[in-house]
């Protein structure tokens, strides 16, 4: 079960910026993206088209996924120029 902050401030003020990270949208996913690092060129095209963002750049410039938040829409796999990303069943 996901714990959600319940403090209600007067005037509908939300005090913590970026607090939706409390809620893990990764549970919505049906298929998960996986990257073939041999093919990944680190162009970050997947990252610019990710609606979440749930794609991170690794130290070597290639990408990895943040499965806590990835909803599995598959835009990254569709748009990847070298076709390094594929969607697999969970």
């Amino acid at each position: 079960m996901v714990k959600v902050e319940t403090a209600i401030l007067p005037g509908g003020v939300v005090s913590r910026p970026g607090s939706t990270t409390d809620y893990k949208t990764g549970t919505w996913r049906v298929k998960k993206p996986t990257v073939d690092l041999n093919k990944c060129t680190g162009c970050l095209i997947c990252w610019i088209y990710c609606p979440e963002p749930a794609i991170l750049k690794r130290h070597d410039g290639k990408i990895e996924f943040n499965y806590d938040y990835c909803k599995g829409c598959g835009i990254c796999a569709e748009e990847c120029p070298p076709k390094a990303i594929s969607m697999v069943e969970e």
Partner: protein, 311 residues
């Protein structure tokens, strides 16, 4: 060349101003567009948001995805609130020295084309320095896909269903950018998240003006347009490549097509991937298809003539 022009993706990495965990549907086109706009925007930034899908999904109270000051308003008055914030900052500048802020107002197509148009018109006329972004998913998606002024001819929505009497929406789409450009504001443009470089540079250009600016960005909605969530960017790109969504800008009254499409793909390619429009390919609906094609061609021809006037 533009000052601070975006040349590569790498220089945008790390500039995200939204957090993951928001409740937008998987593959939401609006969130892709908003992310890119916020990354490109100058800082410090204040975001004003009319009631829309974006507002509902980005702020499931008491949480928020925004990492910038953000205010939510009624459906009709995003532009009004942005004017007020700009005027307040101006007053504070007079009192306490310069307050350098950039303001972006987000509205959906319902909140811009239909409900918020008089507030928008007023704010543009008064000349406040802010950027209004209309992310256009071509219907009231948030309340369950009702037709709006932005819905294209022939599109099936829950209030304009395809049946024996009508073939989707009966009217053509309202040309909002022309209405906005008629206010003679410094900068107005259309954009698409599929062409991210074009979009991010338009945001920077818009914010370089000391006056109102407007960006009309297409936001494919897989729930309302009925296509696979992974096709969001593909559909946005098809819209540009079939000339359905021309990318152009009106800078101080001068028209310029920013992404020319010399050999367009047939409009059918854009229609057939979406179930809201694919019925137009049936032989009995050929007349509606012809009307839509005529609308698209006429618009492109007009833009071409206008941009030729200014080069």
């Amino acid at each position: 060349m533009l000052v601070g022009e975006v040349k590569s993706i790498k220089e945008l990495y790390g500039l995200d101003l939204i957090a993951p965990g928001h409740r937008a549907c998987a593959g939401c086109g609006a969130l892709v567009a908003v992310r890119q706009i916020l990354m490109a925007s100058k800082k410090p930034l204040i975001v004003v948001n009319a009631t829309s899908c974006l507002e509902v999904t980005s702020t499931p109270y008491p949480q928020t995805m925004w990492k910038v000051p953000w205010v939510h308003l009624l459906f009709e008055n995003a532009a009004t609130a942005a004017s007020g914030i700009e005027a307040a900052l101006k007053a504070l500048s007079r009192k306490y020295g310069r307050q350098e802020h950039y303001i972006i107002a987000f509205g959906g197509d319902g909140g811009t084309f239909d409900i918020g148009i008089q507030a928008l018109s007023g704010a543009l006329e008064r000349g406040h320095r802010f950027l209004y972004v209309c992310y256009d998913n071509e219907a009231y998606m948030n309340t369950g896909i009702q037709r709006s002024g932005a819905t294209p001819l022939g599109a099936a929505t829950t209030t304009s269903p395809v049946g024996s009497k009508i073939v989707g929406k009966v009217q053509n789409k309202k040309d909002l950018l022309e209405i906005v450009a008629a206010h003679r504001i410094p900068y107005a443009a259309t954009a698409s998240p599929s062409h991210w470089k074009d979009l991010t540079n338009k945001v920077r250009k818009a914010q370089s003006y000391d006056g109102p600016s407007f960006i009309h960005v297409i936001a494919p909605c897989n729930r309302g347009w009925y296509f696979d969530p992974s096709y969001t960017i593909k559909v946005a790109r098809l819209a540009v490549e079939t000339r359905y969504w021309p990318l152009y800008e009106v800078e101080n009254g001068r028209y310029r097509i920013t992404h020319s499409v010399p050999s367009p793909k047939p409009l059918e390619e854009f229609l057939k991937v979406q179930r809201r429009l694919s019925h137009m390919l049936l032989p009995e609906n050929a007349e509606v298809l012809e009307r839509l094609k005529a609308y698209v061609d006429e618009r492109w021809e007009r833009l071409q003539k206008l941009s030729a006037c200014f080069t």
